[in-house]
Subunit: 196 residues, 2 copies
């Protein structure tokens, strides 16, 4: 019988390997050849899935965003209000090696997205999902009496989002001040300010 190949699983395996290569060597260090070697594929075996480096890097970025979505959905499923917001932020902040590698993929992605509308669209979709969820959780926190109803919701949501994105940069480039313990303290500082 012919071997049945799960093409979706293979695409994901390749995207995950591309992330590892970008995290280790930067976007300039991403080649189809190195990604193939990373997972023991023959040279040329990636071409049917990702014919160009651009297609491969876009897949890597989608993979990182997808991983974050998946973790967030799992962890916040049964939560609401301020607790959901806290758990969400903890999942997005780069607090372990896996998420630090994700940040090392997101940083080069951002600079591509400035000049590439397709990459920018990937980013926009995630950011819109995030702000929709964050706004809902914050409204729940107000309804629960955890956050005063005088709190300005849009600046509260967007400044928290900006804080989490800045932390992607500093956790990688400035870890002495932005290690896991410190980022959690900064997050609590934000949340406690919201809750006063």
């Amino acid at each position: 019988m012919p071997k049945i190949v799960d093409h979706d699983a293979r695409r994901e395996e390749i995207a995950r390997a591309a992330c590892r290569v970008v995290a280790r060597r930067g976007l300039d260090g991403l080649t189809l050849r190195d990604v193939a070697a990373e997972i023991g594929f023959a040279n040329g075996a990636l071409k049917p899935y990702f014919p160009t480096k651009a297609a491969l890097s876009e897949a890597a970025f989608r993979y990182v965003f997808g991983q974050t979505e998946r973790r967030v959905a799992e962890r916040t499923r049964s939560l609401r209000g301020i607790e959901a917001l806290r758990v969400f932020a903890v999942e997005v902040l780069p607090l372990d090696e896996v998420r630090l590698d994700e940040a090392r993929v997101v940083l080069p992605f951002w600079q591509l997205a400035i000049h590439d509308p397709a990459q920018a669209a990937v980013n926009d979709r995630s950011m819109d999902d995030w702000r929709t969820s964050m706004t809902r959780w914050l409204e729940e926190a107000v309804a629960d009496g955890d956050v005063p109803d005088s709190a300005p919701l849009e600046p509260a949501v967007e400044s928290l989002l900006n804080f989490m994105l800045g932390a992607q940069v500093t956790a990688v480039l400035d870890p002495g001040y932005n290690g896991p313990r410190q980022l959690r303290e900064q997050l609590e500082f934000h949340l406690q300010n919201l809750m006063r």
Copy 2:
């Protein structure tokens, strides 16, 4: 008489032109040829100043950091405490086209700095200068009675810094929620939280 060339001024002119090219076309679009054309220099005239693209891009990044330092030093000279902190943050936030272009240079710089210790050192020096100033202004704000002395200084400084860095990303990629008016509101939200 032979024409006297001010080599420092010329280096700065070239670095400024390199910033414009990176802002418009990304780091991949930066070539010695395009920068020479941008300022009407002959091909090859840049080589004595910046022999490689790497040297040119490092000069562009140093120029952006230098411009921010210069503006901050000018504007905060006669200020202290919470007002100095506010004016500093307003200078760093990308609130006009000049600073949006600077953000378009900083984003590609970050991803280079992940894998290049020389670029990382440029970043570290600026960040250390910033947090030293921010900590001093915050201590003054406590002494002035504007910020309660129960405020945790390090999380307050670092989370504000992370917010300002995240805003470099979103002002460029997500301007609908991070235009000048909105970023100022987010900054005020931060400062008002500090002052309670």
